[in-house]
C-alpha cells in the first residue's frame, strides 16, 4: 500500500514538476497553488497582467501567457493629419494606382514584371550593403556583394535573380530605419506620408538615409529632369504593386473594422520584427 502512495506522489511530482517550473519563473504568486498539485490553466489569469507588462521585451512569449496584456499606447500625436493622409493614400491607391497596375498587369506577363522588380532591386544593392555594414552584419554585406556580382553578370544586368534561384543566396533586406532601431533609437511618433504611407520619426530619418544611399537618387539628381524622376518612381511603384497585386495593403485594410488603426498596427508590428531580426 505504502508503495502505491509513494507511486502516486511520484506521479504527482513528475506530472506537475514542469508546470511548477514554468509558472515559478513567471508567476511568483502562483507558487502556493502548485504545492497542492492543481493544474491551473485558468488559475494563471491573476498573474497575467503582471507578465504582460514586459511585452516590449519579447512580445511572442509575453503574448502567449499575457493575453490580457495592456496594448502599449501607440504614439500618434499627429493623428488628425495622419488620418487625412491615410484617406488620401487610400484613394490614391484605389483610384490611381490600382487601375493602372490592373491594366499594366493585363498587358505585361508576370515574368517580365518580376524582372523589372529584380532590376530595381539590384540597383539598390548599396542601400542593403551599407546597412548590413552599419548593423555589423558582415556576412550579410558579403552576401549582398556576391548577389550583386552574380545578378549583374549572369543575371543580365539584374533582370534575373540567379543568385537566389540557382545559388539560393537570399536578399538581405536591410534599411536605415532598421539600423537606427538596432542602435536603440526610439521609434518616435507615427506619421503617414503621402504616397510613401506609414512611417514614424525613426523610419522617416531612415528613409532619408536610404535615399542618400540609393544610386537611383543620384542618377535622378544628375541626369534626369524632375518629371522624368517622378515618372521613374511612379513606374517602379506601379510595377512593385503589380507583382504584389496590391495584396499586402488590401489584406490588411479590407477585413479591418478601423483600417487606419489596422494598417498602423500592422506597420508597427512588422517593423518591430524586422528590427529584431
Amino acid at each position: 500500500m505504502k508503495r502505491y502512495v509513494g507511486a502516486m506522489l511520484f506521479l504527482g511530482l513528475v506530472v506537475f514538476f514542469p508546470v511548477a517550473s514554468l509558472s515559478a519563473e513567471n508567476l511568483p504568486i502562483a507558487a502556493s497553488d502548485e504545492s497542492e498539485g492543481k493544474v491551473l490553466p485558468e488559475g494563471n489569469v491573476s498573474g497575467e497582467e503582471t507578465i504582460g507588462k514586459d511585452d516590449d521585451e519579447d512580445p511572442s512569449e509575453a503574448d502567449q501567457i499575457g493575453m490580457e496584456a495592456e496594448v502599449a499606447p501607440v504614439k500618434d500625436s499627429l493623428q488628425p493629419f495622419n488620418r487625412a493622409m491615410f484617406f488620401f493614400n487610400d484613394k490614391a491607391f484605389h483610384y490611381f494606382f490600382k487601375p493602372i497596375y490592373k491594366g499594366y498587369n493585363s498587358m505585361i506577363p508576370v515574368q517580365a514584371r518580376v524582372s523589372v522588380k529584380n532590376f530595381y532591386s539590384n540597383i539598390r544593392m548599396p542601400v542593403r550593403f551599407f546597412n548590413c555594414l552599419f548593423q555589423a552584419n558582415f556576412k550579410g554585406a558579403g552576401t549582398e556583394m556576391l548577389r550583386f556580382v552574380i545578378n549583374s553578370t549572369v543575371g543580365v544586368a539584374g533582370f534575373l535573380d540567379p543568385a537566389k534561384s540557382k545559388f539560393h543566396i537570399e536578399k538581405q533586406d536591410r534599411d536605415f530605419g532598421q539600423t537606427l532601431g538596432k542602435y536603440r533609437m526610439k521609434s518616435g511618433t507615427y506619421i503617414v506620408w503621402p504616397f510613401v504611407g506609414p512611417s514614424n520619426t525613426r523610419d522617416t530619418i531612415g528613409f532619408v538615409g536610404d535615399t542618400v544611399l540609393d544610386p537611383i537618387t543620384w542618377v535622378s539628381y544628375f541626369f534626369l529632369k524632375p518629371i522624368e524622376s517622378v515618372g521613374n518612381y511612379t513606374y517602379e511603384s506601379v510595377n512593385g504593386l503589380s507583382v504584389d497585386t496590391g495584396d499586402t495593403y488590401e489584406s490588411v485594410t479590407k477585413p479591418a473594422i478601423d483600417p487606419y488603426i489596422a494598417l498602423q498596427d500592422a506597420y508597427l508590428q512588422n517593423r518591430l520584427k524586422k528590427i529584431k531580426e
Binding site: L22, E68, A69, R113, A262, D265, Q269
Partner: protein
C-alpha cells in the same frame, strides 16, 4: 515478493512514461495537425469539381468545414477584446464570438478565391513544456515571394487549436485588439458591436 517487484517496476515504468511524455497523450503534434489541415484545405481548392466562379459558395462552404475546427474562436475573441473581455456578460461574450468568427471567415475564406498554386511549406514547430506551441510555415507565391506565417496554438485537454496567426510578424489577434481598443477608448461597447455588425453585413459571402 519477486513477482510484486516486477509488477511494481512495471507500474513505475508506466507512470514514468505517462509522466515524461505528455506528447503521447495527443494524437498529433501541432505541426502535423496544421499541415494536414492545410493539405485538406488545399485539396478543396484544387478539387476540379469545385473550380470556377459559379462554385464559389460551395467551395467556401467546404473549405470552412475543413479548416474551422482547428481554430479556437473563443480564445481568439477573448484575446482580441483583451482587458475588455472580463467586463462582458456571458451573452455578450457569446454574441461577440459569433461576430468575430464571421469577420475572420469573411476576410480570409474570401481570399482563397484567388488561389493560384501558391505553395505552403512547413519550417519548424516549437512547443513549450506546457500547452503552447507555434508552427512556422512559409507561403511561396508564384512570383517567388516568401511570406512567413506562424500559427500560435494552445492545447485544450490534448486538443491543439490555433489562437493566433502571425503573418510577417503581424499578429492577427493583436491587430484586431489594437482596433477594438482604439474604438473602446472613445465609445461604449455597444458601438463596437454595431460597427462589427455593419462590417459583417457588408462583406457577406
Amino acid at each position: 515478493m519477486n513477482k510484486r517487484k516486477v509488477i511494481s517496476s512495471i507500474f513505475y515504468g508506466i507512470v514514468l512514461l505517462i509522466g515524461i511524455s505528455p506528447s503521447l497523450w495527443a494524437a498529433e503534434t501541432p505541426g502535423t495537425l496544421v499541415m494536414t489541415t492545410i493539405d485538406r484545405g488545399l485539396a478543396v481548392l484544387k478539387d476540379p469539381a469545385l473550380k470556377g466562379a459559379e462554385k464559389v459558395q460551395a467551395r467556401r462552404q467546404r473549405l470552412w468545414v475543413e479548416i474551422s475546427p482547428i481554430f479556437n474562436f473563443e480564445e481568439m475573441s477573448k484575446r482580441a477584446l483583451g482587458q475588455h473581455w472580463k467586463k462582458r456578460s456571458p451573452e455578450e461574450k457569446k454574441e461577440f464570438i459569433g461576430l468575430f468568427t464571421n469577420i475572420l471567415k469573411d476576410a480570409y475564406i474570401g481570399k482563397t478565391d484567388t488561389y493560384s498554386g501558391e505553395k505552403i511549406v512547413f519550417i519548424k514547430e516549437k512547443q513549450d513544456e506546457k500547452d503552447y506551441a507555434s508552427v512556422q510555415t512559409k507561403i511561396i507565391t508564384n512570383t517567388g515571394a516568401v511570406v512567413l506565417v506562424e500559427y500560435r496554438m494552445l492545447s485544450n485537454a490534448g486538443k491543439w487549436q490555433i489562437y493566433d496567426v502571425v503573418i510577417e510578424g503581424v499578429s492577427l489577434v493583436n491587430n484586431y485588439r489594437s482596433q477594438f481598443n482604439n474604438i473602446l477608448m472613445k465609445s461604449p461597447y455597444e458601438e463596437l458591436v454595431q460597427k462589427i455588425k455593419g462590417k459583417v453585413g457588408k462583406d457577406e459571402i
